[in-house]
């Protein structure tokens, strides 16, 4: 498990609000954050990812509504507008290296989903 670096955490919802294999959107300090719950593969645990909801190429707040895609072992999110992939761990766009989206720390505090601020 990675070390948590955030100083402050904000709770956004409970585990039951997450949709396995898909995304939801939360408003954190006025920023739209897309949160994904990626089901376990081969022995891993369910992983949570959080990135900005704004698609800088499609120019709309839509990333929470894309499809989680495994591209050569990298877990990405395919934008629902024009299908560019964003690395869920780093925010890097796979198709255009000059483009990236912010990533947020996300964790579970009991049943509560928290975002690092």
């Amino acid at each position: 498990m990675k070390a948590l670096k955030a100083n402050k955490w904000q709770s956004v919802c409970t585990v039951s609000d997450l949709v396995s294999g898909s995304g939801i959107c939360a408003l954190v300090n006025g920023q739209q954050v897309a949160i994904f719950s990626v089901p376990p593969s081969a022995g891993d645990k369910t992983a949570l990812y959080a990135i900005g909801n704004w698609d800088p190429i499609g120019k709309a707040n839509v990333l929470s509504r894309g499809i989680v895609a495994d591209i050569g072992g990298v877990i990405t999110l395919a934008s629902p507008l024009y299908k560019q992939h964003y690395n869920l761990a780093t925010g890097q766009c796979l198709e255009d290296h000059s483009v990236s989206v912010p990533v947020y720390e996300v964790a579970l505090d009991g049943d509560t989903v928290v975002i690092g601020v």
């Binding site: 956004v12 609000d17 709309a60 895609a69 495994d70 507008l81």
Partner: protein
């Protein structure tokens, strides 16, 4: 030098091909076309399809507009009466004169009517032009019995047309056998047997002495052997004669048996005059097929360029379907060559006849006859055209394909010069060039070379050559769906069906790797829906769906959605219209009528979708599946209920079809339409499956589409009753759902289907694969488990949670969604407007 004036007399298939060649060269010439028929060139080869409902425009090879656009002057409906060679001009019957530098005669031929007393009667017709066909159709409407004089290729086609028009059809042939030019005696007998079994009466060895008033019918034919035949109408199709009268009068050299004599540059005895096609005589032979005519047009056109081509005669081998009977003839079909040896195979039970004539040493194929089974045609033709040495036992070429049987000629054995497509003269060499030039799929090759886009007879051969050449270049044609599945969509469909696989996790564990992606996930979701028809937003499926399916609406550029309720057949009550207006007003939605006869409501935020749909469902609306790869709309015209011209209730049928297939998930979207008469106001021929009413039922058209690459649908079956129509559509749709690639429309699917529309007919009508019962059962299962996804969704509080804009801020909106007003409605603000609005509010 002044611009050369080229005058082309005759605008048939060959004349038009010539003009097209010149246009292609882009020379500085002034082209004038003079056509005796009232319309520009059309496809005479497929003329009989006129009876199956094809309109003259659909047979057209060109248009007046096209000629105009290319700077070609066209003058139709007036024939050339004289050629003034000294004055270098032609004068038409209407008295108009056109001067030329080069004159091209493509006047074609006319049907030979034997000089029989009474042959000029009103009920005696010919079979050559669209106008002839119109006359035949009109005459047939007043007749019960029809006779075709002439048992050749065209005569038999005409007999088929009479039969399809509901007449008792007879063929009267002077010679002892049918198709005497192309078939030997054995082949001709087998053909007769098969044709008689189809209900066409065949009379051979009959010389017509006279045509007199009939007793039971309008006419009576008295034969030289004192027998007679009563009939209501007679169509002469006893061969063709070249239109060479004008050339003859101008003093050009004419062959003893007719036809304007030309050299291998297609030049006549006057070096400024060319003759091409069926009016020309090359080597004391008139080529009555279109492919040699095209070669002549190409040779003649090239004379105006530095790279002159020559015409050295052409192969007259032919393969066709006559009254549904496969007939093939190659080279010396009668085995007339000295010293030749024949092998004959005949199966009277299956009604198959095959013969090959080989050289005395058994090494070369000289000719062949095939009746009832043309599977060997392509291979035999390649042996013949390319002088390929025959196997040790030549008989294996035609013996039934039992284990260890005939050696199929692989694409590797063909020389580069081998002609693959004779309609467009595409050699194996040009296909190889196209592949080297970057083409890497069958579709690419077809559009680059035009191969297999004529009669389509070479499609199987073309595919084998393309596959072989790609493989030889190490291009593994990778048909994997994506990095997670080393299977095609079709494979995965079958794996799921046979393995009873119902979730993506199970599919991935059994047949895939990794976690899946935006390609395989929606494809799998679509397959599960086609097979098992679960609610698409059920837990295991929700993460697989494209955003449009996930939220059951169509995402627009600003992240809002559009809402499209189903309006089956485009029929809607005033009350429902009012509801749509009220809902649109309440949620401030932009409204637009779609091309599919429904109403699209734009600008709904994700959280508003369930609220909007709750109101729509309560008012009796269902989801329109505009978001899915599934049946969209079945468009209709108003039909016989209201229209003065309608012959069937097209609206009723459209509503029935739309309700039957709504919710069916497919590899790509599906569109349909039903027209109430041949005026075709619903544009059914531009749909994946289109239905057009006839006096007797429905004609079914398959695999059309509009969009980026429009394709007219192919006529699949005619005059179907309601039940058969639905049965065929059931089978067609399920066969497509099973076998198409991901995101492959029916048009592209058909283009890639080996055997094309004929194969599709065999599968769907003749049940060649024995799967029709299964296809129907599968369709019935989908129809029986239909649910309105929006109804299910609005009734499920768990589902509604997913439609929150923000999981933690129920009252906040997406601040980036900004509308401005235009023409009385909202639209998304442009970037600039957005900045201005934000600046103003700050």
């Amino acid at each position: 030098m002044a611009t050369q004036k080229i005058v082309v007399v005759g605008n048939g298939m060959v004349g038009h091909h010539y003009v097209d060649q010149l246009i292609g060269y882009g020379l500085d010439v002034e082209i004038t076309v003079i056509g005796a028929e009232p319309r520009p060139a059309y496809d005479r080869v497929h003329l009989s399809e006129f009876f199956a409902g094809k309109k003259p425009e659909e047979l057209a090879l060109t248009t007046r507009e096209y000629y105009q656009e290319k700077g070609v002057k066209a003058h139709f409906g007036d024939a050339v009466a004289t050629i003034d060679r000294d004055g270098k001009k032609v004068i038409t019957e209407a008295g108009i004169s056109y001067s030329y530098d080069k004159l091209v005669l493509a006047t074609g031929s006319y049907p030979f009517v034997p000089p029989i007393p009474g042959g000029e009667r009103d009920n005696c017709l010919t079979y050559r032009t669209i106008d002839d066909l119109g006359a035949i159709k009109a005459e047939a409407a007043k007749s019960k019995i029809g006779v075709v004089v002439g048992g050749g290729l065209l005569g038999l086609e005409c007999a088929n047309a009479l039969k399809n028009l509901g007449l008792e059809a007879h063929v009267v042939e002077f010679a002892p056998g049918l198709m005497g030019v192309q078939l030997d005696e054995g082949g001709s007998k087998m053909l007769r047997r098969k044709i008689e079994a189809l209900g066409v009466f065949v009379h051979t060895n009959k010389a017509t002495k006279e045509i007199v008033d009939g007793k039971a019918c309008r006419l009576r034919m008295n034969f030289a052997d004192d027998s007679h035949l009563d009939t209501d109408m007679i169509v002469f199709s006893a061969g063709i004669r070249p239109y060479d009268q004008v050339a003859r009068a101008a003093g050009l050299e004419i062959a003893p048996r007719g036809g304007i004599v030309v050299d291998y540059h297609c030049r006549t005895s006057d070096s400024d005059i060319y003759a091409i096609g069926e009016c020309a005589n090359f080597g004391n032979f008139i080529y009555g097929l279109v492919a040699p005519g095209y070669r002549m047009a190409e040779a003649a056109a090239s004379q105006l360029t530095p790279e002159k081509q020559a015409f050295h005669g052409a192969d007259m081998s032919t393969k066709l379907k006559l009254l549904g009977v496969d007939v093939g003839s190659i080279g010396d079909s009668h085995g007339r060559a000295e010293g030749s040896v024949s092998y004959v195979f005949s199966d009277e039970r299956l009604e198959v006849y095959k013969r090959i004539n080989v050289s005395g040493d058994g090494k070369k194929l000289l000719g062949a006859v095939l009746v009832g089974d043309c599977d060997d045609y392509d291979t035999l033709l390649q042996y013949f055209l390319n002088d390929i040495e025959l196997p040790e036992n030549p008989e294996s070429m035609i013996l039934p394909h039992v284990a260890g049987g005939a050696p199929q000629l692989g694409p590797a054995a063909l020389p580069l010069a081998a002609t693959i497509c004779s309609c467009h003269n595409v050699s194996k060499g040009s296909i190889v060039d196209a592949i080297d030039g970057g083409c890497c799929s069958l579709g690419d090759i077809k559009s680059a070379t035009k191969a297999s886009t004529g009669c389509g007879g070479c499609s199987a051969l073309l595919k084998s050559v393309v596959d072989y050449e790609l493989e030889a270049r190490g291009v593994t044609v990778d048909k994997s769906l994506c990095e997670h599945f080393a299977f095609t969509r079709q494979d995965i469909f079958h794996l799921c069906n046979i393995g009873n696989i119902k979730t993506f996790d199970e599919l991935l564990a059994k047949h895939g790797k990794g976690l899946g992606c935006e390609i395989c996930k929606p494809a799998a979701a679509s397959i599960f829906a086609s097979l098992w028809n679960d609610y698409i937003l059920a837990k295991p499926h929700v993460g697989l769906q494209d955003t449009n399916d996930t939220f059951l609406a169509n995402m627009q550029k600003d992240g809002t959605y559009s809402v499209v309720p189903r309006i089956a057949g485009g029929e809607i009550t005033p009350d429902k219209l009012i509801v749509l207006g009220q809902v649109a007003k309440k949620y401030n939605l932009y409204t637009k009528i779609t091309g599919g006869q429904r109403i699209d409501l734009f600008g709904a935020r994700v959280n508003e979708l369930p609220l909007i749909w709750k109101e729509l469902v309560d008012a009796g609306f269902e989801t329109g599946h505009a978001y899915g790869k599934s049946l969209r709309t079945v468009k209709s015209c108003v039909g016989s209920t209201w229209c003065r011209y309608g012959v069937q209730d097209s609206v009723g049928m459209a509503i029935f079809i739309e309700n039957r297939y709504k919710g069916l998930r497919s590899p790509h979207k599906l569109k349909s339409a039903v027209s109430g008469c041949t005026r075709e106001c619903a544009e059914a021929q531009s749909k994946d499956f289109g239905v057009i009413a006839t006096e007797n039922g429905w004609n079914l058209y398959l695999c059309g589409n509009g969009g980026m690459k429009p394709r007219h649908a192919d006529l699949f079956a005619t005059d179907l009753d309601d039940e058969t129509l639905i049965k065929y559509i059931d089978r067609f749709l399920m066969f497509y759902v099973r076998s198409a690639d991901r995101l492959q429309r029916t048009s592209v699917w058909l283009d890639n289907l080996e055997g094309g529309i004929d194969y599709l007919r065999e599968v769907i009508i003749d049940d060649r694969l024995g799967i029709c019962a299964e296809l129907e059962a599968q369709m019935n299962a989908v129809v029986g488990t239909y649910q309105c996804e929006w109804k299910t969704t609005v009734e499920d509080p768990e589902q509604l949670k997913r439609f929150r804009q923000f999981v933690n801020a129920p009252n906040e909106k997406d601040s980036n969604v900004i509308f401005v007003e235009e023409r009385g409605q909202v639209r998304p603000a442009t970037d600039r407007e957005r900045q201005q609005l934000i600046a103003k509010s700050a």
